[in-house]
C-alpha cells in the first residue's frame, strides 16, 4: 500500500476523486443559488438552514474546504513534478494545437485563475459569514442572506470578475470532467456518453452561475 500512495497513478486517482467531489458540490451550489432568482424568501430559508445546521456547518463544510484545498495542493504537486519531468530544454517549435485542446494543455492556468476567484469568493461571502457568527457574534437574522447576496452584485467590476472566472471554470471542466473518469481507469463503451455529459455540465453549470450574477446586477440597476 505504501507504493500505492506514493505512485504517480495514485496521485492521479486522488486528483480525479477530489474533482468529482467538487463537480457534485458545484451542482448543489448552483441549485441553491438559483433559488435566489426565483424567490427571496425561499433563498433566505435555504441559506438560513445551511447556516445553522450543525451537520452542514461542522461536518460537510470542513469536508468541502478539505476537498478544495486538496484539489489545489495536489494540482500544484503534480504540476511541479511534471515541470521537473520535462527538464530544462524546451522545443524551439512546439505545435501543441495539432494534437490536443487548449483546455487540456492549460489546466494549471485555468486552475490558478479559479483559485484566485475562490479567494475573492471567500472574502465576499465566507469571511463575513464567519465574522457574523463567530467573531462579532451578531444577532441572527434569517432574512439577511438575500440582501447580502444582492449587495455583492452591485459593483460591475466584481460582476465582470465573476463572469470571467466562470468562463475559465467552463474551460477547466470541459477537459477536467472526462479526464477524471479516464484517470480512474474508466475508458470503455460509455466514455462517449461521459464526454457528452461532461460537455453539457461544463457549459450549463458556469452559465447558470453567470446568469445569477448578471440577474442580480441587472435587477439592481433601476
Amino acid at each position: 500500500m505504501s507504493g500505492l500512495l506514493s505512485s504517480s497513478i495514485a496521485k492521479k486517482v486522488a486528483m480525479a476523486l477530489s474533482a468529482l467531489f467538487l463537480i457534485i458540490f458545484l451542482l448543489i451550489h448552483l441549485s441553491v443559488n438559483l433559488v435566489s432568482v426565483c424567490s427571496e424568501d425561499a433563498f433566505n430559508v435555504a441559506s438560513h438552514f445551511m447556516g445553522v445546521n450543525p451537520l452542514i456547518q461542522f461536518a460537510m463544510q470542513p469536508i468541502l474546504i478539505f476537498g478544495v484545498v486538496f484539489h489545489f495542493v495536489m494540482g500544484f504537486v503534480l504540476e511541479l513534478k511534471n515541470k521537473k519531468a520535462v527538464g530544462v530544454s524546451s522545443y524551439a517549435k512546439n505545435n501543441g494545437a495539432a494534437n490536443s485542446t487548449w483546455m487540456s494543455r492549460n489546466m494549471a492556468i485555468s486552475g490558478m485563475a479559479i483559485l484566485a476567484f475562490i479567494v475573492l469568493h471567500f472574502i465576499d461571502f465566507w469571511i463575513p459569514e464567519i465574522n457574523h457568527k463567530y467573531i462579532a457574534v451578531l444577532p441572527e437574522d434569517p432574512t439577511r442572506y438575500f440582501h447580502e447576496l444582492q449587495h455583492k452584485f452591485v459593483n460591475p467590476l466584481r460582476v465582470g470578475a465573476y463572469v470571467i472566472a466562470f468562463v475559465l471554470l467552463a474551460l477547466h471542466l470541459l477537459h477536467g470532467f472526462q479526464s477524471a473518469f479516464q484517470s480512474m481507469g474508466m475508458n470503455n463503451k460509455y466514455t462517449k456518453y461521459v464526454k457528452r455529459c461532461g460537455n453539457i455540465y461544463a457549459i450549463l453549470i458556469p452559465l447558470g452561475f453567470i446568469f445569477i450574477a448578471l440577474f442580480h446586477y441587472i435587477t439592481q440597476l433601476s
Partner: protein
C-alpha cells in the same frame, strides 16, 4: 524543392547545444524525411563539416529507432507514421523545417538529434514480459482459447514500438501510453495473468523512478503515436495498478 532546415546541434551530453540553420536544394517530394537528412549529411561531409547525428535503423516503421520532433510534432506533420515513413511531399518548396530531438528529462541528448531512450528499456525490463520457457517446447497458439476481442486488443497494444513519441509529445513528458500498452499487452491474455500484479506494480514503480511525468489526459500521445496506441491502454493500466495495489 528547396528548404531551410533549423536543426538542433549538440556535440555531446554536456554541450549546451543550439539551433543551426542549413539550406538543402533539389529535394524530391518522393524522398523520405530520413533520405532528405542523408542528402544534408552528404552535403555537410563534402564541405568538411560534422554530419548531423540522428537515430535510424529499419526505415520501415517497425524498429522504433527513428525519432525527431519535426515542425513541433513527433515524427512530423503526418499521422500514424514514424519519421522514416514521412515523405517530403508533406512539405512545400521554400518551407522552413524545425528538426529537434525528443525533449524530456528522462531522455538526455547524447548528440545532436540522438537521445538516450534506455529509460523505456528499463521499464520494460522491470516487468514487460511473460516468464515462460520458449526454447523447444512452445505450445500451439490455439491450445489456449482466447476471445477474439481480447486477442485483438492485446495485439493492438503490442503494436507499440517504444519509439518515445508519446513522451516527446506530452507536455508533461509522461510515458504512461508506452507503459499502458506494455501492461495491456499481457493483462489481456491468460499467459500474462500469473505475473499481472507484479508486472504493473514494478513497471509503474520504474516509470516513476525514471522521472517521467504524470498523464493529464491531453491525448497528444495517442494522436502522435505512429502505431495508434490509444488512451484506453492508460485507463487499463490505472485499473490494473489499483487492483494490484489493493490486493497487496
Amino acid at each position: 524543392m528547396n528548404l531551410t532546415l533549423k536543426i538542433w546541434r549538440q556535440k555531446g551530453p554536456q554541450d549546451k547545444g543550439a539551433m543551426v540553420e542549413y539550406k538543402v536544394n533539389d529535394i524530391s517530394e518522393h524522398m523520405s524525411f530520413l533520405e532528405m537528412m542523408d542528402v544534408l549529411n552528404e552535403q555537410l561531409v563534402n564541405s568538411g563539416d560534422e554530419p548531423v547525428a540522428f537515430d535510424h535503423d529499419c526505415r520501415e516503421g517497425i524498429c522504433g529507432m527513428c525519432s525527431l520532433y519535426i515542425n513541433g510534432e513527433a515524427h512530423g506533420p503526418d499521422r500514424g507514421i514514424t519519421t522514416c515513413q514521412l515523405h517530403m511531399r508533406m512539405f512545400n518548396d521554400g518551407d522552413t523545417i524545425y528538426i529537434e530531438p525528443w525533449r524530456a528529462a528522462a531522455f538526455p541528448v547524447i548528440k545532436d538529434l540522438v537521445v538516450d531512450r534506455m529509460a523505456m528499456e528499463r521499464i520494460q525490463q522491470a516487468g514487460g514480459f511473460v516468464s515462460v520457457n520458449t526454447s523447444g517446447n512452445t505450445q500451439d497458439a490455439n491450445a489456449m482459447p482466447i476471445s477474439k476481442h481480447d486477442a485483438d486488443e492485446s495485439m493492438d497494444a503490442a503494436a507499440c514500438i517504444g519509439c518515445g513519441a508519446c513522451v516527446a509529445s506530452c507536455k508533461n513528458s509522461s510515458a504512461m501510453l508506452f507503459v499502458g500498452a506494455k501492461v495491456s499487452q499481457y493483462a489481456l491474455l491468460p499467459q500474462g495473468q500469473v505475473e499481472a500484479a507484479d508486472r504493473v506494480l514494478n513497471m509503474v514503480h520504474q516509470m516513476d523512478l525514471e522521472g517521467f511525468g504524470n498523464c493529464t489526459n491531453t491525448g497528444a500521445c495517442e494522436v502522435e503515436c505512429p502505431k495508434g496506441i490509444t488512451l484506453v491502454n492508460i485507463a487499463r493500466m490505472n485499473r490494473e495498478f489499483l487492483k494490484a495495489s489493493i490486493k497487496g
